[in-house]
Symmetry: C2
Amino acid sequence: MSQAQVKAAILLIGDELLSGRTQDLNLQTIARFLGPLGVQVGEARVVADVPAEIVSAVNALRAKYDYVFATGGIGPTHDDKTADAIAAAFGVDIGIRDDARAILEAHYKGASNLNEARLRMARIPEGAALIANPVSKAPGFQIGNVFVMAGVPSIMRGMLEDVGHRIQGGAVMRTLTLRAKGLREGDIAAALGALEEAAGGMVTFGSYPWFSPPDSFGAHLVARSADADALAKAGGDLAELIRARGVAPEQVEE
Amino acid sequence: MSQAQVKAAILLIGDELLSGRTQDLNLQTIARFLGPLGVQVGEARVVADVPAEIVSAVNALRAKYDYVFATGGIGPTHDDKTADAIAAAFGVDIGIRDDARAILEAHYKGASNLNEARLRMARIPEGAALIANPVSKAPGFQIGNVFVMAGVPSIMRGMLEDVGHRIQGGAVMRTLTLRAKGLREGDIAAALGALEEAAGGMVTFGSYPWFSPPDSFGAHLVARSADADALAKAGGDLAELIRARGVAPEQVEE
């Protein structure tokens, strides 16, 4: 009796990610947040602050995946184009919403500091539900299966706390990682492939070489499964495979 | 007289990036490498080690962009599916190639250590040109406008040295960044939007807020342009805009 898989896509929005100005951190944070909830990330895209690109990506992803998590482009400046693009993608209107405006008024101590630019952050696509922002108050929003959050990592992380309870996860994919110092991938590739074959889809195995200059190297061998017993057996098999090459496997904490 | 823009896409391949196991570093490295060559990254995608997903992404991206830079999935283990998927995407055969095999034989000190798994790294799609790997020898390859490189960041970075000379860049987009401590985005949003409007497409402006707990904050204001004079003027305008809010702008080294 196995639970269905629930799959998500991540959509990172912002010129600064594509120019190399900013190192993305949100993909990993979201993926690690979703894993224990029983949601696997199937794909991610990074697009520029260009409305047509955002519309096209969000429509492709929301049709293909159970959930879409978008970050970036919901601030007060002219280059924040995400909310309008999401409204366009869903074919709905967008305007300043009273509940979002009230949150901003309270934060900016009355309407006098709430200029036109800041009010842009209260523009929410019709039919969306707000996502609370415990850090800087300006809310994100959920529309259909799409969650739209801030791009600043600390704010995005705060918003996830108001996202988790809305997710219907499926099977939780658990992971086990063994570190094998001095092991060369090419020496275990055939045996590792045989393990995956024998697992018949219950477990997937990955091999990730690492290099630490000047001359230290090895591989992380990873098993993933939704089934605890199958994962435990896979861990034993991996450890044996590593020991058979004269290397002591080290378990890595996830 | 302005040069044409040359645009690239980046395709990151690997389950480990989507599970959150591994923090991607290649997108930023490639973007920063391409910028001075006159190539802007227009989009990036992250896909799993699933042949159909790789084929679909590479075909979408190579049709839309001047260049595609793919990383990951060209090692010796069963989860390395990129080379076969790229061959499938181009509709060409794939097999062990003599020049790639010779590189591996020299590295592994003769054919005896070159087992079947390692020989997989000599499988190259028909019609591709090799990309030298100065770190661990197993080559990447270029086919059409698609460059396929290793996923391990240090190896990928090494391969870029054999990629740059094959690129025909266009206009180089230059960037200028001013840091404004204590500046709130909402207080400069209107003026910043007016600058972008007045620049008539010659310069684009971006605003990126930062927060440093417990109570330090500010924004980075960024101008981008292919025209040196326009960029210099934009820098002056930005500095004035920041000073007008009682903040001393600090120039950030790129």
